[in-house]
């Protein structure tokens, strides 16, 4: 079987979210860069992979999957299904809950912070500090919920590692590239959870991919 192809730039935390899942699942894959400067993401070839003209997109043989969290689930289901716990009704529910929380509560407030601090300056703009401050306040409220959860359990879905934890990795790694990583300092259990994720070889590998030499 040919390796799966993950289309997109490793500067995108939606792309590296998938890379973490693919690494953790031990999937055979390669990253195929997409050039935004030439609008390659809006080319007919790429629109066939992702009709919204966005990254990432994953190709596995004849199958195209897009939307990063759907790609992550696909990799897990194919190569390491215990990351989803789908055989256990209650555990799979908690994995689903915390995957939704990642998308709808955590990364949704991190996105504007990361955009303002990392992307906007790259596009020749400046950082809107008001947007950053507002979302840091929202992030603190979210982190309070995480701290309470991680005081009771080792990982978000329970005392087992799941895709719900891993889906947080890429955006959190980007947070460390901004001046605001210290926001985590007030939440010791969140920090301990993050440290345990950072020790994983899959996370180390993707963190290296994200270094700005690419």
């Amino acid at each position: 079987m040919a390796p799966m192809k993950l289309y997109g730039s490793t500067m995108s935390w939606n792309v590296t979210r998938c890379a973490v899942a693919l690494e953790e699942a031990g999937s055979d894959y390669e990253i195929v860069p997409i050039n935004f400067a030439t609008a390659e993401h809006k080319s007919p070839e790429h629109l066939a992979r992702n009709p919204f003209g966005q990254v990432p997109a994953l190709q596995d043989g004849d199958l195209y999957v897009w939307e990063s969290r759907a790609i992550c689930k696909y990799a897990a289901r194919k190569n390491k299904p215990e990351l989803l716990k789908e055989g256990n009704l209650e555990e799979s529910a908690m994995v689903d809950v915390w995957m939704e929380v990642e998308a709808n509560q955590y990364t949704s407030v991190l996105n504007p912070i990361l955009f303002q601090c990392l992307i906007s300056p790259m596009l020749g703009g400046s950082t809107d500090q008001k947007v950053v401050e507002e979302n840091l306040e929202k992030l603190k409220k979210v982190l309070e919920v995480y701290e309470a959860r991680l005081t009771k359990y080792k990982y978000l879905a329970g005392d087992f590692l799941s895709l719900a934890d891993l889906n947080h990795v890429s955006a959190t790694l980007c947070l460390f590239a901004t001046p605001h990583a210290s926001v985590l300092d007030g939440y010791p259990h969140v920090k301990a959870w993050w440290s345990s994720l950072m020790e994983r070889p899959s996370v180390q590998k993707v963190a290296a991919l994200m270094k700005p030499s690419a």
Partner: protein, 215 residues
Amino acid sequence: MAMKVYGPAASTNVARVLVCLEEVGAEYEVVPVDMPSGEHKSSAHVARNPFGQVPGFQDGDLILTESRAISKYILRKGGSDLLRESNLSESAMVDVWLEVENVHFNSAMSPIIFQSFVVPSFLGGETDMKIVKENLEKLKTAREVYEARLSRFKYLAGDFVSLADISHFPAAYYLLGGPHASVLDVYPHVKAWIAEFMDRRSVKKVAELMKTPSA
């Protein structure tokens, strides 16, 4: 013991959960949460949903949040085929289109619903047409992608109905019942697809519950 759903049926996120309960024929009870008085931020509700949002959900000792996660739990428990989890490529397509529903459809519909229904009916304010127009424009890309997809397949994930389709019902209900339903007119496959899921027994039942003002 009946499962409990906390929140008003008129909330799109609550309605998503209710339609899944109806799909599997589960026994359930809707427990009202009075949002205008801030009950969703009360300590009792925050114990069920730490983000102080609706829905809250309880099945025995199990407490869940996030409507799409709750929906999957209900369907799995009820042995429904709407997730296709035993088939790798079909389940991937269900996941893709469920994400699309959240990211491209619901994210544009939520501000439209808020401005068109919640602001004038509950907050005594006026609809901000600028916000409505911006989001109708965002919705346009989604409508075009949907039309292309539904010209090739009967449903979003393929030629089988799935949670990805049904999950669109609550926002589609408001789109059809609001002043902007005509935006669908140039998308015949999207219109036919919506009409089909609106005709499901489960959807009709929940649509009735959504009309009840106090629920």
